[in-house]
């Protein structure tokens, strides 16, 4: 965090450097499952942003589906809360 601050202080008052943007874009690239597995360095920034949008949308959809599933489970049975927490933390 401090190194990032000193770096931006050196370039403060001037434009955002392309390096900064590329840095952040490559950091995003590492998080995306498709691009990470494809093993190619040369992915354009626009493609990374596009994949990011798609990935976030798919994650939102998964959260919606899981919420629906959980709400249906609540309708039918009770959840054993302490057992769940214990089992999750022991994995």
């Amino acid at each position: 965090m401090s190194s990032r601050r000193s770096r931006s202080k050196q370039s403060s008052g001037s434009r955002i450097t392309d390096d900064q943007i590329n840095d952040l874009v490559s950091k995003l690239q590492q998080l995306l499952p498709e691009i990470r597995d494809r093993r190619s360095d040369k992915v354009s920034a626009a493609k990374v942003l596009q994949e990011t949008c798609n990935y976030i949308r798919s994650l939102h959809r998964e959260v919606d589906d899981l919420s629906e599933r959980l709400s249906e489970l609540l309708a039918t049975s009770d959840t054993a809360q302490a057992a769940i927490i214990r089992s999750l933390l022991n994995q």
Binding site: R4, I56, L59, S71, L74, A75, S87, L89
Partner: protein, 185 residues
């Protein structure tokens, strides 16, 4: 909780613990409400939809409060949830805020935000117009709609917040999947 498993930048273990704790607590609350209103038709489509909304909002709220107020997206998400619940449930919304946020009033929240404000919020990202008009500009606008609080961010902060948001979303999905699998077993 296994202390040796703390990762470097994203302390996932404590985050997972806080998320699961808050989420399970919220599920218990929703369950109690369901029992309280069991005289009505529990399985009517409206009831099911309302419960789905509550579960989803509880998941998002647990995720955002597990992160805390350190991140702009979590602050924006908590604000959005509070506003929605205020609309839906009136003054009773204080009940639904996860315990982690410890809401005592607007002034306290803003004081916390001021004190924990990270250096990234003060980062000097100039010349935003050239970036907005460039090739990345219109893609970034799509991203802004997806990330909570994204409209007010400049490019550097937006990319930074997106990275953290994706990590937390992926963890949320993983944990919810485990909870659902366990509950349905």
């Amino acid at each position: 909780m296994n202390p040796q498993r703390l990762s470097l930048s994203f302390s996932s273990t404590s985050y997972k613990y806080r998320f699961v704790q808050g989420f399970i607590r919220a599920l218990k609350r929703i369950n109690r409400q369901k029992l309280a209103t069991s005289l009505l038709s529990r399985s009517s489509p409206t009831e099911i939809y309302k419960r789905y909304l509550k579960v989803k909002s509880a998941a998002d709220a647990s995720m955002a409060s597990a992160v805390g107020l350190r991140r702009a997206w979590s602050r924006a998400l908590l604000q959005r949830i509070r506003d929605q619940e205020r609309i839906n449930f009136g003054n009773k919304y204080y009940k639904y805020c996860p315990a982690g946020t410890r809401i005592r009033g607007k002034s306290t929240t803003f004081t916390m935000i001021r004190n924990i404000k990270r250096s990234s919020d003060d980062r000097n990202c100039k010349d935003q117009e050239s970036i907005n008009n460039g090739a990345l500009g219109w893609k970034a606008n799509e991203l802004r709609k997806l990330v909570p609080g994204g409209e007010a961010m400049d490019m550097c902060n937006l990319l930074d917040e997106t990275a953290h948001y994706i990590k937390c979303l992926a963890t949320q999905v993983k944990l919810m999947k485990r909870i659902a699998d366990f509950a349905s077993a």
